[in-house]
């Protein structure tokens, strides 16, 4: 995002504000790590650090998708449904306990393509029918859950395919393959955001859509592409969850809709669009995962986690919106 702001010297005050915002989440991450290390001896071990990275893998991939949608200034509530559908589809297409199919990598690809198609539907509905994204994605989420329930059909498909199972169990340099996939995804998403037209336009659409449209850019296709790409990330996330769980579950993505939005917002990817990015969101993912891990080790009930996330997201949005309070009288 730097060149969008940096090129004009008159913006120096703004730039300082942006840099404080950029530095906030990493500092918060460090502080939380320090505090938890002091409170819990189990937390400050190398093994636990690796655990945290492994636990953050799926959320990091899902959040890559959410981040691009948030950069547009839209929102995506469809992760739960898209992941449910994708998880079931991959579970019945690779070698499994329910049927004789054994498509291997092709099965994984089909699941990701299905997820991308669902994302594409959300995008098309937003662009063509002008339905606000929170409504279209809520609808698409329901459709995805329906598809998942149809495929589930009362019998849980267990994953037998050894290569998919090894995603969650195989290790390289102490980290599971899932974590390495997540690292690749984050780097890829960062590359798209930083160096491709799609990423630059996504940022610009979130910043000032009217200006971009008046400049002669056809905004619609880029929006659809962003939603499609987000869907593909959810699909990959779902395949990763399925590998972790060892079977396809309708609810496998249930917690990720909210967790990914929370992570992105906490990391500094604002809901108003045009601010933040993949690396910001990834810091948010680590922050959230460290917090979850630390709270469990301190002995806080896992049921409290959702509540903590709920509070965090509201506080983070409020803090981000605070400087604009007097400008934005109308908030829907």
């Amino acid at each position: 995002m730097a060149p969008l702001v940096d090129t004009r010297p008159a913006r120096s005050r703004l730039r300082r504000g942006v840099s404080v915002r950029d530095a906030g989440p990493p500092i918060a991450l460090l502080v939380i790590v320090l505090i938890l290390s002091l409170l819990s001896p189990q937390f400050r071990t190398m093994g636990n650090a690796l655990n945290i990275l492994d636990a953050a893998a799926v959320l990091a991939v899902v959040t890559c998708g959410t981040t691009f949608v948030l950069l547009l200034g839209s929102i995506d509530l469809s992760a739960a449904g898209v992941m449910g559908a994708s998880s079931l589809v991959v579970a019945v297409l690779v070698e499994n306990s329910r049927n004789n199919l054994d498509l291997g990598t092709l099965g994984i690809l089909i699941a990701v393509v299905l997820a991308a198609a669902l994302g594409c539907v959300s995008g098309l509905l937003v662009v063509l029918l002008k339905v606000p994204s929170f409504m279209t994605t809520l609808g698409v989420s329901a459709i995805g859950l329906g598809v998942a329930t149809l495929v589930f059909d009362g019998v849980q498909p267990g994953v037998v395919d050894p290569s998919l199972r090894s995603w969650a169990t195989g290790r390289l340099l102490g980290l599971t393959y899932l974590t390495w996939i997540a690292v690749v995804c984050v780097l890829l998403a960062w590359f798209v955001q930083r160096y491709t037209r799609l990423g630059r336009y996504a940022m610009a659409i979130g910043g000032a859509e009217e200006v971009l449209a008046l400049s002669g850019v056809r905004v619609g296709p880029y929006k659809v592409a962003v939603f499609t790409m987000a869907g593909a990330f959810y699909g990959l996330g779902a395949v990763m969850v399925t590998s972790q769980l060892g079977s396809g579950l309708v609810q496998s993505g249930a917690s990720y809709t909210f967790a990914s939005i929370t992570a992105a917002v906490v990391g500094g990817t604002l809901l108003v669009g045009g601010r933040g990015g993949v690396l910001h969101s990834t810091v948010g993912v680590l922050l959230l995962t460290v917090l979850t891990n630390g709270l469990v080790l301190i002995g806080v009930s896992p049921y409290v986690q959702g509540g903590v996330q709920g509070l965090i997201v509201v506080v983070a949005v409020a803090v981000a919106a605070a400087p604009l309070r007097h400008r934005n009288q109308v908030v829907k």
Partner: protein, 331 residues
């Protein structure tokens, strides 16, 4: 952001009958037409459908949904949305089940009060912190679910003595379900309150054009907080009705009602952009949604399609009722 033509059909359009333009009167009639055609189709598919027991069952099943959706309608009319209603109803059911042994009949009142306060708190966060309502209520949804799971120990809380809440699940004269009467009374009270006071025009004005409403001196902030407060209270009441029929409170009991409730609102013809719509429409919408669910099982379609149907229904209904003159940029 001005919408010069569409401001005209103000509060009058909220009633089911006739809006001034043809397309608006069409969308006003659509829910009723959908309801009538659904009833005819179901009666044709299953001869016994029009019998009294089956009608009673349908109306009874629609009641908690109608109560839940009625409150949220007011938030939508103001231009916001409340995604926390289902989670709040679940939390209310747990609270009611826990408080019934000690508080007796007062427990219902206390639960509705707590839910109203929770709604008002969300409204205040929305208004004073300038956070979009869907994100506040999404946060609220997560928070309420988590509170419900913690205080119930993540298990259903059984109700041993349901005497104090039996009013929520009986048959008046062995025919009319009391829950349906509660739903109609809630809608009627809210509708009359809105119609008889300036509140109606305030809500419509805020929904159609909030900046204009502010300039006109309408107390927009308290109005919105009030809307979310009513939405919370209705969610609490829906929770009470659910406990009355299941004899237990559950931390995820009402969670599956979020989509049907939003579907009921938008199928009724209330525009998600605010301003245009009404409470009676939501009542019709709740009946349509319930009949669709019943219809699916009558026709013999797998329940899995239900979720797909809700998703498609919501998007289609929002697309039809959307006030496109107001949305320059779709986010």
């Amino acid at each position: 952001m001005s919408a010069p033509v569409t401001i005209r059909p103000s509060a009058d359009a909220a009633v089911v009958k006739g809006g001034p333009t043809r397309s608006e009167s069409l969308t006003s009639l659509m829910p009723v037409l959908a309801l009538v055609s659904l009833v005819i189709a179901l009666a044709a598919a299953k001869p016994g459908f029009l019998s009294q027991p089956s009608m009673t069952a349908v109306v009874d099943a629609a009641a908690p949904l109608a109560v839940l959706a009625a409150g949220a309608t007011i938030a939508v009319l103001c231009g916001g949305i409340d995604l926390s209603i289902a989670a709040l109803a679940s939390l209310s059911s747990v609270l009611l089940a826990l408080w019934l042994p000690t508080l007796g009949g007062l427990a219902s009142v206390a639960v509705v009060g707590v839910a109203a306060a929770a709604g008002a708190l969300q409204g205040a966060a929305h208004v004073f912190l300038r956070i979009p309502s869907f994100i506040v209520t999404l946060g609220g949804m997560s928070l309420f679910s988590s509170i419900a799971l913690v205080i119930s120990g993540a298990a259903p809380v059984p109700v041993t003595d349901d005497g104090p809440i039996r009013w929520g699940f009986t048959r008046i004269f062995d025919v009319v379900p009391s829950a349906a009467v509660v739903a109609v009374v809630v809608v009627a009270v809210l509708a009359v309150l809105i119609k008889a006071t300036p509140l109606g025009s305030w809500i419509t004005a805020t929904g159609y054009s909030e900046p204009a409403a502010r300039l006109a001196g309408i107390p927009v902030d308290p109005l919105k907080i009030g809307a979310f407060c009513v939405s919370g209270a209705c969610a609490g009441l829906a929770g009470v009705l659910l406990v009355a029929r299941t004899f237990s409170g559950g931390p995820t009991m009402a969670d599956s009602l979020l989509l049907p409730a939003i579907a009921a609102i938008v199928v009724g013809g209330t525009a998600i952009t605010g301003g245009h719509g009404g409470l009676w429409r939501t009542l019709v919408g709740a009946l349509v949604v319930t009949l669709l669910r019943v219809g699916l099982s009558v026709v013999g379609v797998s329940a899995a399609y239900e979720s797909i149907l809700y998703g498609a229904l919501i998007v289609a209904a929002v697309a039809l009722t959307l006030d496109r003159s107001k949305v320059m940029v779709v986010k």
